[in-house]
């Protein structure tokens, strides 16, 4: 550290608490900046598409819809805003679920995708598309979503149920997640094998992930899951942070680790199942979002949780813009892009986690 010169007019030296408080202020600024970036991305996303609109027009239409043209009103409010908002909500949901899964399972590679929740949802979708079979008593356009949700919930609950068994380590739970992923991938493969060409095309399109079928109703349901679970995570912020010090130390701090893990995994299950059911398989957001948040603000859940939500939202929102602009005139499936962006990051994480030896 550089030595400081003491002058007669020098102010009192900073205490450790002062330095901690300035670190907190930096963290809050970073959160505010990421929130602003996410908002900007949302506006650009709304303006981007077959008919591109300047940012100012988008803002005006959002602020004063009655003064905008009817076409702009419809495009912004009825077509693009639900899709752009869905990107924000799903990105935030997947990243929060990933952040808490990584915390609860003490594994940097845990997220809804790597733990088989997305594979289970894909199988649920395949049941609806290929066989027309509904897991829940719903029909019509909701059949596919309901199936995907039910199967994603089932996969999450399988991991959750395993965590209830006495003496099961977090490593076992992660391995169980991987086993679930292979199991549902095998079932999905079987359905793909017997599917007609038309069903197969529909299934492939769904599993590549798409925000395009977003409606205000779906956005509201996805947002509801996020709004319902966030206060639960926020309330448990100290306990969740303590869990990163290791199970024994967390227990020593009076935390009932088993109960905490059960409650929080249930919330993660709800978040990821809802997100995947509405938009299909979108990998890596739940993995990469929390890691960027961790690098920026650390793992104090008071800042880690909102930062994870924002980075996840920002990643998916930017990906949504890229999906419309990378090849002009063609809308790329968003799941492909998140995988392409996330894959190098995923590999670097594996290599880094080998070095850091997560316990």
């Amino acid at each position: 550290m550089k030595a400081t010169t003491i002058s007669p007019r020098a102010s009192a030296p900073q205490t450790t608490a002062d330095r901690y408080l300035s670190r907190r202020r930096r963290q809050h600024w970073l959160i505010a900046l990421t929130a602003m970036a996410t908002l900007t991305s949302l506006l650009i996303d709304i303006g981007t598409g077959p008919g591109a609109y300047p940012l100012l027009d988008v803002v005006k239409t959002l602020a004063m819809p009655s003064q905008a043209s009817r076409v702009l009103q419809v495009v912004v409010w009825e077509i693009r805003l639900p899709v752009a908002t869905m990107a924000i909500v799903v990105g935030a949901s997947l990243a929060v679920a990933g952040a808490e899964m990584q915390t609860l399972l003490n594994n940097p590679l845990a997220d809804p995708f790597t733990l088989g929740i997305s594979s289970a949802a894909s199988f649920g979708a395949a049941l609806a598309i290929v066989l027309g079979f509904g897991v829940l008593p719903v029909a019509g356009t909701l059949l596919l979503t309901a199936n995907a949700f039910a199967l994603a919930m089932l996969a999450s609950l399988m991991i959750w149920a395993l965590s209830r068994l006495k003496g099961v380590s977090v490593q076992t739970m992660v391995l169980m997640g991987i086993a679930i992923m292979f199991f549902f991938n095998a079932l999905l493969g079987m359905l793909q094998y017997v599917a007609s060409a038309e069903s197969l095309q529909q299934l492939v399109f769904w599993s590549l992930g798409s925000l395009n079928k977003a409606s205000w109703g779906k956005v509201a349901l996805a947002a509801l899951a996020l709004l319902a679970t966030m206060p639960i995570f926020i309330r448990a912020r100290w306990q969740l942070t303590a869990l990163r010090l290791g199970e024994t130390q967390a227990k020593s701090m009076g935390i009932d680790v088993g109960r905490l893990r059960l409650r929080m995994l249930l919330c993660c299950a709800l978040l990821s199942a809802t997100a995947v059911a509405f938009v299909g398989t979108i990998g890596f957001v739940g993995l990469v979002g929390p890691h960027i948040a961790r690098l920026l603000v650390g793992e104090d859940q008071r800042v880690f949780l909102p930062m994870s939500a924002l980075t996840g939202a920002l990643i998916l929102s930017v990906t949504s813009i890229l999906s419309k602009t990378l090849i002009p005139g063609i809308l790329l499936p968003i799941g492909i892009l998140t995988a392409l962006i996330g894959l190098p990051f995923f590999v670097s994480l594996i290599l880094r986690s080998r070095k850091e030896n997560w316990r």
């Binding site: 608490a17 408080l21 003496g167 010090l245 290791g246 701090m253 009076g254 961790r294 650390g298 104090d300």
Partner: protein, 260 residues
């Protein structure tokens, strides 16, 4: 607060680790060292007192039965510092110590921050306050863990091998600090420790266990005899009690050698 243990049994799976431990007492203002060979059950005993491992029997702290309290209720009275404090958490030293305080008491932020500052100062951790836990050496991490323990000001503080990763300077410094802390705050401190010289020097009372059974308890002078060291550790040792100086234990030879 005085700690008493009666008829304590603990099993891990099908393996019975602690056998009917009775008559063990630790007093406030004193350091009690828990000694015994590897696998004696020292960590399990401390975890059983903390409620981290389930056990049967009576554990009384100031007359109150700890074994009837929940983990959270126990954590308001005591703190157990595990031997392994390694972590990959992306937290600064200040945040980690604050976390230990915040999980115990709800208080104004300024009070918590002052408590953390005091804890960091007493363990000379101020220069490391902003450093991330992952960037610390084993010894520094151990001192942070001790700061996390003392910032909670528990009535009963249990530390599992708290000096195992520390250099000689910090071993003496930390144990001296714990001794003064125990006296000043009338805190009951129990240390699981392998170094018998440090135990003899800093502990007021020793508990000796072997294979989960109680072998002896008493002052270092009563407990640390060549015959007992032979029985417990299977070693020949020379025990010296110089006047007005801490006792010196010199291990001479192991009674059994490993196969070649």
């Amino acid at each position: 607060m005085s700690l008493q243990i009666e008829r304590l049994d603990c099993s891990l799976g099908k393996h019975r680790v602690l056998h009917d431990l009775s008559g063990l007492t630790a007093r406030p203002g004193e350091i009690t060292a828990l000694i015994g060979p590897n696998g004696a059950g020292k960590s399990t005993l401390l975890k059983a007192i903390a409620g981290i491992e389930s056990a049967s029997g009576h554990i009384l702290l100031a007359g109150e039965r700890l074994d009837s309290l929940s983990l959270e209720q126990r954590s308001r009275r005591l703190y157990y510092l595990p031997q392994d404090t390694s972590t990959q958490a992306a937290l600064s030293v200040f945040e980690a110590v604050l976390l230990a305080r915040r999980t115990q008491v709800a208080e104004p932020a300024a009070t918590a921050l002052s408590a953390v500052e005091r804890a960091l100062k007493s363990l000379e951790l101020e220069p490391l306050a902003e450093r991330e836990l992952v960037a610390l050496s084993g010894g520094q991490r151990q001192r942070v863990a001790i700061a996390q323990a003392i910032v909670r000001r528990p009535a009963l503080l249990m530390l599992d091998e708290p000096t195992s990763a520390l250099d000689l300077h910090h071993q003496l410094q930390v144990l001296d600090y714990l001794q003064r802390l125990a006296r000043r705050e009338a805190m009951t401190v129990i240390l699981a420790i392998h170094d018998l010289n440090l135990a003899a020097r800093f502990a007021d009372r020793l508990w000796v266990i072997k294979a989960g059974r109680q072998v002896a308890s008493g002052t270092p002078g009563e407990v640390l005899t060549p015959a007992r060291l032979r029985a417990v550790y299977a070693i020949d040792a020379h025990v010296e009690w110089p006047p007005d100086a801490p006792p010196r234990i010199t291990p001479l030879s192991a009674l059994r050698s490993l196969g070649a």
